[in-house]
């Protein structure tokens, strides 16, 4: 009984402190929204212009690294258990994420190497630069397909947390009116 009372008291205290703590899920929702927005705009170089395309590419790379850091626990635990279960949704997810990670790294590095407005002026062989440009473009098209599948596989999470953190104010508004 005493233990029950203690836990009842402990819950509101925890809630009170969690207000001041960083909500990881909320941060993930906002970061993922930013990543998606930047990605779909950044994909269209003829919409943004080359200068913004390259700047957004760097911004995206930073946000992408942050996204991985926030999901590091998941990556570590799944890497450890990868060969335990043969058929599982998270395994498909894992393989897809590895492909996305590798493709994204390639696109980012090739983008930096062929950049013309970042002021790096790397003196690469012209033929190599052309090949790199082609691969950069093809790689980014592939990223679009993988990202689409990535979003699709996380749809439940997106609907649940998106409605909670992005549209959570709507029911509150209804209740107040």
């Amino acid at each position: 009984m005493a233990a029950q009372l203690l836990t009842r008291k402990a819950v509101p205290q925890a809630r009170a402190t969690s207000k001041f703590r960083l909500n990881k899920t909320r941060l993930n929702v906002y970061l993922d929204l930013l990543l998606t927005g930047v990605f779909i705009v950044e994909m269209e170089e003829h919409f943004t212009g080359l200068a913004l395309h390259e700047v957004l590419g760097l911004l995206f790379a930073v946000a992408f690294v942050l996204h991985i850091v926030l999901h590091w626990d998941w990556i570590v635990s799944l890497t450890r258990n990868f060969f335990k279960k043969l058929l599982h949704e998270s395994r498909v997810n894992y393989v897809l994420n590895v492909a996305l990670f590798l493709d994204m790294i390639f696109v980012t590095i090739s983008g930096i190497l062929i950049s013309r407005t970042l002021g790096l002026s790397l003196s690469l062989d012209q033929e190599f630069q052309r090949t790199l440009q082609t691969l950069h473009m093809v790689g980014s098209e592939l990223v679009l397909i993988i990202v689409a599948l990535h979003v699709a596989l996380h749809w439940k999470w997106i609907v649940t947390n998106g409605s909670k953190y992005l549209f959570g104010w709507i029911p509150k508004l209804r209740r107040s009116t």
Partner: protein, 227 residues
């Protein structure tokens, strides 16, 4: 309990909204000519970058000046679409003059197309030169016309102003270095990217059910039920 009942209803509502979004935005993109499959766009990227002199990032494609570059982009797109329908008829004269090779499509030949452009006041040779500098040809523009995306008159109106100023080499090198230089007419391409993501999501949700059923069956086969 009530919450548990609400959950599938909410996900069903979410799925229906997603499907509606995909269908409506797909129809809008289709009507604007922005809807192409990712495989096709990848093929387009490869085909665009395959030319020796013609390779350029999209921002570089300003050799065909002004508004004509948008036409050239759609031309490359449409060229991929109609290339299967296009057949090249080579004659003895065409062997001597490769430029005048008659390209017969379902609607218009290259010869009639260039003749119509010339009568509309377009400097065909200048346009052809600027396009070949990009690794393209007038066939790309013909493909656009034959695909019905634009008319010869419209194309001529766009090109006539541009052909008066032959493209210089420096023009192809000039690219905007200002950060906020959006080309709003390309917004459809951005919307297309979002559409691909949404469409893939809807497709995966639809496929996931039978796939899940198959996986469960396989699991049962692997692990027979013990009494």
């Amino acid at each position: 309990m009530a919450r548990a009942e609400k959950r599938p209803r909410r996900s069903l509502r979410g799925f229906l909204i997603l499907v509606a979004l995909v269908v409506i935005s797909g129809a809008i993109l289709w009507s604007q000519g922005d809807l192409i499959s990712p495989v096709q766009s990848t093929a387009m990227v490869i085909s665009m970058s395959s030319g020796e002199d013609g390779f350029a990032m999209i921002s570089d494609r300003s050799a065909l000046p002004g508004s004509a570059e948008t036409v050239a982009e759609t031309a490359a797109d449409a060229h991929a679409e109609v290339s299967t329908e296009t057949s090249v008829e080579t004659s003895s004269t065409a062997a001597e003059q490769p430029e005048a090779a008659a390209v017969t499509t379902g609607t218009m030949t290259l010869e009639t197309f260039t003749a119509e452009l010339a009568t509309a006041g377009v400097d065909v040779e200048a346009v052809s030169a600027s396009m070949s500098a990009e690794g393209r040809s007038l066939e790309n523009l013909l493909a656009v016309v034959n695909s019905g995306r634009t008319t010869v008159a419209d194309l001529a109106a766009r090109l006539s102003g541009d052909s008066a100023q032959p493209p210089s080499e420096t023009e192809s090198e000039t690219e905007s270095t200002s950060l906020l230089d959006f080309r709003w007419e390309e917004l459809g391409s951005v919307a297309y990217n979002l559409w691909v993501i949404l469409a893939a999501t809807a497709a995966v949700i639809v496929i996931a059910r039978p796939a899940g059923w198959v996986v469960n069956r396989m699991k049962r086969v692997q692990r027979p039920v013990t009494p």
